[in-house]
Symmetry: D2
Subunit: 357 residues, 4 copies
């Protein structure tokens, strides 16, 4: 029944630094797969990183990993879904059966960061159609009351921000610092509030992001342009520091800052991607108690899977979380390159550009 349509438009990386829309074949569907017809996508700063060649891609590989759509085709072994149903697929699409997945580290499916297949392993989903491996565990229905443009935030932003908060081991009433309030950092702020933080201190200098930060849960917003954020956070906490710090930028300085502001016994949760600056991360010795501070450093990559997606969608459905104020721009898929440039330059106050198909 799907044989009539054979090709699709896709936004690809032609070569390093060279992006554009080309025509590609619609992906084919194996017994455990699904093909989704895209209805909405968000551009991610990872797409910008990838266009720089941070991870080696073959020519004309489609970019993108934040898309929702409707079921177009289903493999013979996939049940519980029907053609045409609205579905969400996370940026990470694990196999669920390898050693790493069985240990619970689905983002590390079949090897380091191996759950991240859209781009590194196969075409991404800034395209009219996209392929879903292991669809039985990766497809999830979108509730009727949740529009595509809201659901699409679960693909990466909310799952990544939330895992930043989850890995921070926040107890009810804890003090939490979050370094950087880009889209992932803002979602970590939502996540920290969801875990019951007593006080949330964020680091951000852009006024619009500062305002969203407060709206999403920050009690204090520290501007790094008006002084060392570490000193400011220690000052706000009378020198005791925070229970947990979340790194949501991906820079050695903020990583070190997280170690410095965290109390002995506290947790540093990293969700920033440190692939842009090619130098080892450094841990300051004294603030690390020379390796004996009882501080913990945790790391992670956007967890996927339908079970987690259902939980995130539930928060959207019951109105407890609304990420859509982050959507600063909205345009048809035909303008995907403009959306990409906005993300690249952060021009015009861009936080997240949304594409409608």
């Amino acid at each position: 029944m799907t044989t009539a349509v054979r090709t699709m438009q896709a936004f690809v990386l032609k070569g390093i630094g060279n992006v554009g829309v080309i025509e590609k074949p619609i992906p084919t569907c194996g017994p455990n797969d699904a093909i989704v017809k895209t209805t909405a996508s968000l551009i991610c700063s990872s797409d910008v990183h990838n266009a720089k060649g941070v991870i080696p891609f073959p020519p004309n590989r489609a970019l993108g990993h934040e898309s929702v759509g409707t079921v177009w085709e289903l493999g013979s072994e996939v049940s519980g879904f029907a053609i045409g149903e609205r579905v969400l697929v996370n940026a990470i699409t694990p196999c669920f059966q390898c050693e790493s997945c069985q240990r619970g580290f689905t983002s590390q499916c079949q090897g380091m960061l191996g759950g991240y297949k859209y781009g590194p392993v196969k075409d991404g989903n800034l395209a009219e159609f996209f392929h879903v491996n292991n669809a039985q565990g990766n497809l999830v229905h979108i509730p009727n009351s949740v529009p595509d443009e809201m659901a699409v935030y679960a693909c990466d932003m909310l799952s990544t921000g939330f895992v930043g908060a989850e890995h921070a081991d926040i107890r009810i009433g804890d003090v939490v610092a979050i370094f950087a309030q880009g889209p992932v950092g803002l979602c970590a702020t939502i996540g920290a509030k969801l875990r019951g933080a007593g006080r949330i201190i964020t680091v951000e200098s852009d006024p619009k992001r500062q305002e969203l930060s407060r709206r999403f849960g920050a009690d204090d917003v520290v501007d790094f342009r008006t002084g060392d954020p570490v000193a400011q956070i220690l000052d706000l906490t009378r020198g005791t520091g925070v229970d947990s710090a979340i790194e949501a930028l991906g820079a050695p300085a903020t990583f070190e800052g997280c170690v410095r502001v965290t109390k002995p016994g506290g947790t540093i949760s990293n969700i920033g991607y440190h692939g842009e600056i090619a130098e080892p991360l450094r841990i300051p010795l004294a603030e690390f108690g020379f390796g004996m501070s009882d501080k913990t450093i945790r790391t992670g990559l956007c967890p996927g899977g339908s079970e987690r997606m259902e939980r995130i969608l539930r928060l959207l459905e019951t109105g407890k979380v609304d990420p859509t104020p982050m959507t600063t721009h909205r345009m048809p898929f035909a303008e995907v390159e403009r959306a990409f440039r906005l993300m690249q330059t952060k021009a015009d106050g861009c936080i997240k550009p949304l594409l409608i198909y």
Copy 2:
């Protein structure tokens, strides 16, 4: 300097079922102790239980364990506090040094439920002054911006309700059921929301409590007078049940209900006191997977200690939690017996009566 005052008014249990105010000596202060001059108290349903003789008390033992006040006297070994400072003391006052405390179970200090000393071990604090053992770890400053009548909810209600939610192992977006919305159940609702529950289903029939339940975070309120709450909860969740269920009443039927509505792999968190009905709790076999369902049953008693109290006070200070809508009645300490009767009868829509000294 405190020698002039020698006696105080205290609300005591003269004998089973016989309560009243009498004059008692102000407690004396050892090297690790403090004496607090009471400024505000709440009556607890445990006081009503205790008046029935559930736990054997010596004659004229003062009732009460939810009080705040100012420091009146400090033992020689206690530092960091000064006479006259506003302080909070939890209902549970552990020693912090016994085997049980060192394992992290401070409520079981020196033996089963042994952290609960106000009443079973020494005079309670429905009195003009009260004694604080191990004051170094049990006293906590009340922030200036938090009034006594708000802070006093941390003594028992918030700490107990929150531990109900904490023991429920709630993940972001989970579905949680809470059986009964008395003051502890209402605080468990606040706690479940603080932990990021995606959907909160409470069981309550009283309209005023139903309304507070929604205000504090319930998405659905099930009325047990209109049908079996287990069936209603299964219906609301399309037969799958909830991730976690919190028992906040203390009755065999609600305990069983919690087991029944919880998914395989889910958690039942008990905070209700099952000392009123003298029959063993029962676990229904089939819903327990004949002991193989991967369900977990957890129990607990209001955790104390200054560190936890600071975290709870922080939530009040930053405005994230406001328990004061539960205060249905307010009167001077002289009317403590009237307050006790209100708690006993639940007349006049009583949820929590507050006493001011």
Copy 3:
């Protein structure tokens, strides 16, 4: 290449209480499946339970869930295995992709106890060949140095006993009680020792099992025929009780005993199957602190999956665990009915009868 062989011998439940060997078709292999040619099996007491009709089986359903063998056939989507390789498959064969599996509760795959498919869902593996669903995650290679008759203990006994110990939350040096030293209880003893228990107290009256219990790690063996085991355990611990208690029998009395001997704050871990005695489990109130003792009750069903199997096989490979002293009888598959009767009657000191194909 496997087309020549079409039927096999299988040990089936013809009807309640009526077992025997019949000829059945060799199972067919879907794209995600494998077919294994059996080389060794153990009889389980669950087979005896099932023959009584505890779980409804269709007529002529093969019994058995503890078997190893060689790969006979592989589905098109299964990689990393080759025909003829020695493989192990756990008694529990989850799909890894449903909501329950993604939450980590693979034994509850697709519903309560749903990971247990050999028998309730399809033919068991007391047969010359058996089917493996979701083979990618359920097949595991057996190391060369581990013989079949040792590896086969990982299918159920070691995984179940170990989860009993894992759920008991044993800390280094803890005191652990284990009620009953049948094969599962004995494996829980091995597991408790593996987790670093400081003292292991087991309850058993059979001299041979007592001896194995000591050999596997018990410091004290309590004989319930010489006095109430609860009293004996409290006596051995000077009245303080144990940190963790493991129920490995499946009876209300031992379950209650576990609650009674466990310290406040301790953990009761259930691995016994309570489907034989049709009455609710009871929790004694006082020893449960009226629901406030900080005691935890955990339950579980033999976790499967190749990742766990690899870890258990590693312990056999490095010589840290040797379960084979539990093999009291060894015979060819042709004598499977005799083996079953031995398990049923526990005659001749039977602990585990091994079948060789």
Copy 4:
């Protein structure tokens, strides 16, 4: 009753690099304190570090923190102990009541590494008598069957080594690498075996320590003098790496090695003291998944407290652990300086020198 004795011999740090025995007053005993008469001590490599001035000590501060003895004097508020009883005190003596202690981080009592009081805060216990703060929680009885020279290993070596294993989050059957097999690393090997590791790979070049390493649980011992230990460990694990790595040396290279050999999702547990080499620790980017590998880094300092000590003593009492093969030298306290020099130079195959008083 103890008034006749006023002074004692103590092994002190006179000034940087200048150690020796001097006469000092016996410490005095406050209401929460105890004074212990020393019977046996071990020299620690931290004593050697401290003599170099790593932490600023006032002149003539006694060294040492691994000693056992008998109760000499008890504060008025300390109960459950009697003069003359054999007792153990951990190197770390927390207050149990500060914010950090209540959070469970007793080693960080009142601030970073603040539980470590013998030396930094008060006289150490390489002396005929020593002071115990917060004695109620820090004193523990030594069982009759455990000799002083065995018990003394619980003061630091076993507690530190074990926390290295505990923080490594070892599951039954896991593969664990331990970098360096000095006394702490050897105790981490014992600890890894106690937690049920399936395979333990240690890194050590000294033949005597290699042999002890195998005796205590190592399956493979890698000699860093015959090749890069990271490459050797990856080779031994067919390139997959280990589940957990324990740093037991305190050097940037071994710390980095731990990050490199650990699988995605695995845990690096640091117990080495990184105060000797004054450069920040570095985390290699690619092996850290650019901050997204799901790897966790944990740190810690020898946990103290009587509850933990009781658990460690239980393992000695039931014969499950015997650390005494590490005692390479034994001499009277009069020869403490010779013992110190042995520890300093590691001459004569010195692992741990024992002093008898």
